[in-house]
């Protein structure tokens, strides 16, 4: 620890912290722009200017590239420092188009915010505006570049150089004619390209998928976890009036930092399209109560040995827990498994994992058989009259095999989010909620238990969480011990039973998750990316 003084107040910060982070973590506001806590320091915006006392008197310097030292005396509010901060902002805004009314960044634009916080000077330029040109240049599959809004902070360049290491972006020309652009014959098409639009402090880089779709101040936010692979990157689901507009990365220093892959980012539409909206009983549509009643009627007369269950790693921990409990109490636990049907996807050393499901480790936590070979062969032999498939889509992923396996099953009961081939093949299908419509937890490949919160409520009240669907079925079958109102109460009950979750309640799970004592299924993310040790969590990302 180093003892330093900021604006006359003594404080202690960790050695190696930079002055900017030291200020921010001690509630001293300091303007900053090009600095990103997870990228190398560029020191080019010159807004985080502070005065540091030295042998030759106070010296003006940038906070982001200065490490604290014992006894350092820092001033952020002297006239000299204030003028430097303000004038740098004035120059950043000098030729800015001020097209905020049509700019997608408006409302979350650092230039706007900093002007309101630190600027508020009278505009003066005295000369005609310089046009840097280039409106809406198409530079990649997902990204558009509005050249004239660019403030040349180089965050995007540093990102493509450091994280995907694909280096598609660079600066051409010099001085105030400098422009950020893609290299000739190269397009910004790396697997992480969407992140440049998050870190762009202005509206220079925007997402094609979000442009002109929604003003950001209308968006409501829910803390969530990406569903796209076993990495479980932290995200914020941003929605308005029941519609998801985007997934944004949510900072987690120990996991995805502030990045997510494009595959995960653009998966939001997948959860809004092709949804199963109604209860299907054979070819007829019905409602949830009738459906459950009819199903309970069917199951009542069967022996507990006649029912098999197929769970899925796409289900939340709560769904899996209640399903397990249902099989334990009403049927046979040995007849429940979560076999894997899909093929592994692509992976890299940054974030993406080949396992494209979010909760394989959750299955391991609850002791599910994740291969289910035995169960499937028994189903194929015709040992079961009814098979309950929750969240899984065997027909969609391997139709031939599924047809063979389920040929002798009398009734296939399907719980599904989408209108899948399994729904078509099933004798009864019930719509269930996706992770953006419910509260719940996943355990990622590196054994991190993570909570996601409900973002939107489905219009149709018959679309319930799989866990609560199981609860209703259990009650209809007369089973006891299923007094759960919602997913958090399921989690709290589960935490009392499952050793690794001891002492946790749904609301007590830290926002960045909690690592459980389970053997990790994958290596830590960002292999080969230099760590930025200097994060206070307060800098604008």
């Amino acid at each position: 620890m180093a003892k330093i003084t900021i604006d006359g107040k003594p404080m202690e910060v960790a050695d190696g912290t930079n002055v900017l982070e030291a200020c921010l973590s001690n509630s001293v506001h300091l303007e900053h722009f090009c600095y990103h806590p997870y990228l190398p320091v560029a020191g080019n915006c010159r807004t985080c200017m502070v005065e540091i006392e030295g042998p030759k008197g106070p010296m003006l310097t940038i906070g982001c590239n200065t490490k604290v030292a014992e006894g350092m005396v820092i001033h952020t509010d002297t006239p000299k420092a204030k003028t430097a901060q303000k004038s740098a902002l004035e120059m950043l805004l000098l030729d800015h188009p001020l097209d905020c009314p049509v700019c997608d960044k408006a409302g979350e634009c650092k230039l706007q915010n900093q002007y309101m916080e630190y600027g508020l000077y009278d505009f003066r330029r005295g000369v005609p505006r310089y046009f840097k040109g280039g409106k809406a240049e198409d530079i990649g599959e997902h990204v558009m570049l509005d050249q004239e809004r660019c403030v040349l902070c180089t965050r995007c360049i540093r990102f493509v150089d450091e994280i995907p290491k694909s280096s598609e972006l660079g600066i051409v020309s010099r001085g105030h004619e400098s422009k950020i652009t893609i290299f000739p014959d190269v397009r910004l098409d790396n697997a992480y390209s969407g992140n440049v639009t998050d870190i762009c402090p202005v509206g220079a880089l925007t997402l094609k998928e979000f442009r002109f779709k929604q003003r950001v101040w209308f968006l409501k936010k829910a803390e969530s976890v990406c569903h796209g692979c076993a990495r479980g990157c932290n995200i914020t689901v941003e929605h308005n009036r029941g519609r998801i507009y985007r997934f944004m990365p949510r900072e987690n220093a120990e996991l995805n930092k502030t990045w997510i892959c494009d595959e995960g980012r653009f998966s939001f539409n997948y959860f809004q399209e092709n949804r199963l909206e109604e209860v299907r009983l054979g070819h007829a549509t019905s409602n949830l109560s009738d459906g459950i009643a009819q199903l309970a009627n069917l199951l009542k007369d069967l022996s507990p040995d006649d029912v098999a269950g197929i769970a899925s790693p796409t289900g939340a921990l709560e769904d899996l827990y209640v399903m397990k409990k249902l099989f334990e109490k009403r049927f046979r636990l040995k007849n429940l498994a979560a076999p894997f049907w899909g093929k592994p996807g692509d992976e890299d050393k940054i974030l993406k994992l080949a396992d494209k499901t979010p909760n394989t480790q959750g299955l391991n936590l609850l002791g599910f058989d994740t291969e289910g070979k035995d169960l499937l062969s028994r189903i194929e032999k015709g040992e079961f009259k009814v098979v309950l498939i929750a969240h899984n889509n065997p027909f969609g992923q391997d139709e031939e095999r599924a047809k063979k396996v389920f040929a002798k099953v009398k009734a296939l009961i399907v719980l599904s989010v989408h209108k899948t081939k399994t729904v078509e093949a099933g004798s009864m299908a019930f719509p269930v909620r996706t992770f953006i419509e419910k509260n719940g937890t996943f355990v990622n490949a590196t054994s991190r238990l993570q909570r996601f919160r409900q973002a939107v409520e489905p219009e149709n009240p018959d679309i319930v969480e799989a866990s609560l669907w199981m609860v209703r079925l259990a009650k209809a079958l007369g089973a006891t011990g299923f007094d759960f109102e919602d997913s958090p109460s399921v989690f709290n009950a589960m935490a009392k039973e499952v050793g690794a979750l001891q002492g946790l309640t749904f609301n007590k799970i830290p926002a960045t998750g909690k690592v459980l004592d389970l053997k990790p299924l994958a290596a830590e993310p960002f292999q080969g990316v230099k760590a930025q040790p200097n994060v206070s969590g307060k800098a604008k990302v």
Partner: protein, 426 residues
């Protein structure tokens, strides 16, 4: 001034003075015997004691700079020679390399021995094509004669020198911009710390010295620090090649000890001001604050006198202007140059230099009032000392000195106060 034997220019004008044969005949590579008899640390002490300052513009003591190199990093140490002479009004390094390339090589050998470096790069401005050819030929000759390569003159010291041709950007003369360019990247100065003496070229400790600094070293090693320190003035030891351009009858460059009065320089060497009375002098390259004729009266060519006059010694090449020169056009020329040469990294420089240039155009077009003059001064204050390198200061200083010392010239272009000038709209 007492006559002093030329150290830097003695082979200028000699037939084949650039060849090894003539170089050796005229006492070349003689310092190496003294050099290899000393330990590297002793060489650094010798150069420190000589008072030799960096000739690139900042005037940092050369021996002191060498002593900053950490010797225990386990990494190679590099010497980068800054031959990217690009300061407007400066034109002496090019002749040093053209007429006496071996002197530079000898200086490099001395410096590399002192800092324990075995690889040196000469970063030459791209336009200096003939100089590059001569340097390469000299390196070839020296290598064949055992002055470069393995085990130089039986001393056990190895050194290779490579010439790198720049692409003609002013900013590549800034030491860390030079290193970036040498590494094959755009010439954008690096943020410091770390300083290049610790983390420089390819991440290794690196010393960057100017051509004339290194060319001065062999004489120091051959004749001793005391002899060198005795030449020139108290704070400005040794000799320098001073240049003179602009409105004088005789432009050119002359080697002499520090301390000559500026007026003597202009009148005796430059044969007087051409076309009218003296109005102003930019003493050491375009980024130094300009001086009025009156200020030049008691100015001498030395670091300390320039400092006392609130300007800089810079490169030691003065630009002389007579009474008919329009200072507004001169400053427009400078603002154009610096805005064009700004690398564009730091906001205050990228935007500030261009803003100054755009305001200068407005003034020249007769569209401005005195309000713009005030703005220019404020922008200069907001640029200087707020950026990674000193390019913004190199424009801020002239802007400030021009506007303060020759305000009348600027006011002639301005509309009378009180006349409302509509804000220009795009």
């Amino acid at each position: 001034m007492p006559a002093v034997e030329p150290q830097l220019t003695k082979r200028f004008g000699l037939k084949d003075g650039h060849t090894l044969k003539v170089y050796l005949e005229t006492g070349g590579y003689a310092s190496l015997k003294n050099l290899f008899a000393k330990k590297p640390a002793e060489v650094i002490e010798e150069v420190k004691a000589s008072g030799l300052k960096g000739r690139g513009g900042a005037g940092f003591p050369a021996g002191m700079k060498w002593s900053f190199v950490p010797q225990n990093t386990g990494k190679p140490i590099y010497l980068a020679v800054n031959a990217d002479e690009g300061e407007p009004g400066t034109f002496t390094d090019r002749f040093m390399m053209y007429y006496d390339p071996h002197l530079l090589l000898e200086g490099i050998i001395c410096a590399c021995y002192a800092i324990n470096s075995h690889t040196a790069y000469i970063y030459v401005r791209g336009e200096f094509y003939e100089q590059i050819q001569r340097l390469n030929a000299a390196i070839e000759e020296a290598r064949k004669a055992g002055y470069l390569g393995k085990n130089i003159q039986g001393s056990g010291f190895d050194l290779e020198i490579y010439v790198h041709r720049g692409a003609g950007a002013y900013i590549c003369g800034e030491e860390t911009g030079l290193l970036e360019s040498l590494e094959g990247k755009p010439g954008k100065p690096r943020i410091k710390p770390p300083f290049p003496a610790v983390v420089g070229l390819f991440g290794c400790p690196t010393i960057i010295n100017n051509v004339k600094t290194l060319s001065s070293v062999p004489w120091v090693i051959a004749n001793g620090a005391a002899a060198y320190a005795a030449i020139g003035t108290k704070e400005s030891a040794g000799t320098h090649v001073f240049g003179l351009s602009g409105q004088v009858h005789q432009t050119g460059y002359w080697e002499m000890p520090f301390g000559l009065p500026m007026m003597e320089f202009i009148n005796n060497y430059g044969k007087g001001v051409k076309g009218g009375a003296l109005k102003a002098v930019i003493p050491g390259g375009s980024s130094c604050p300009i001086l009025t004729a009156k200020e030049c009266e008691d100015l001498t060519l030395s670091y300390e006198s320039m400092r006392d006059h609130k300007t800089m010694f810079g490169t030691g090449c003065a630009i002389v202007m007579n009474e008919h020169v329009d200072m507004v056009k001169v400053l427009k020329n400078l603002t154009h140059f610096y805005s064009h040469e700004s690398c564009g990294q730091c906001t205050p420089c990228r935007e500030g230099t261009a803003w100054e240039d755009r305001l200068m155009k407005k003034i020249l077009d007769g569209e401005a009032t005195t309000k713009e003059l005030g703005m220019m001064l404020e922008i200069a204050d907001n640029m200087e000392g707020k950026t990674i390198c000193v390019l913004s200061a190199a424009l801020a200083m002239p802007v400030r000195s021009f506007l303060q010392k020759f305000r009348a010239d600027f006011e002639k272009y301005c509309k009378p106060a009180g006349v409302a000038v509509p804000e220009a709209v795009s």
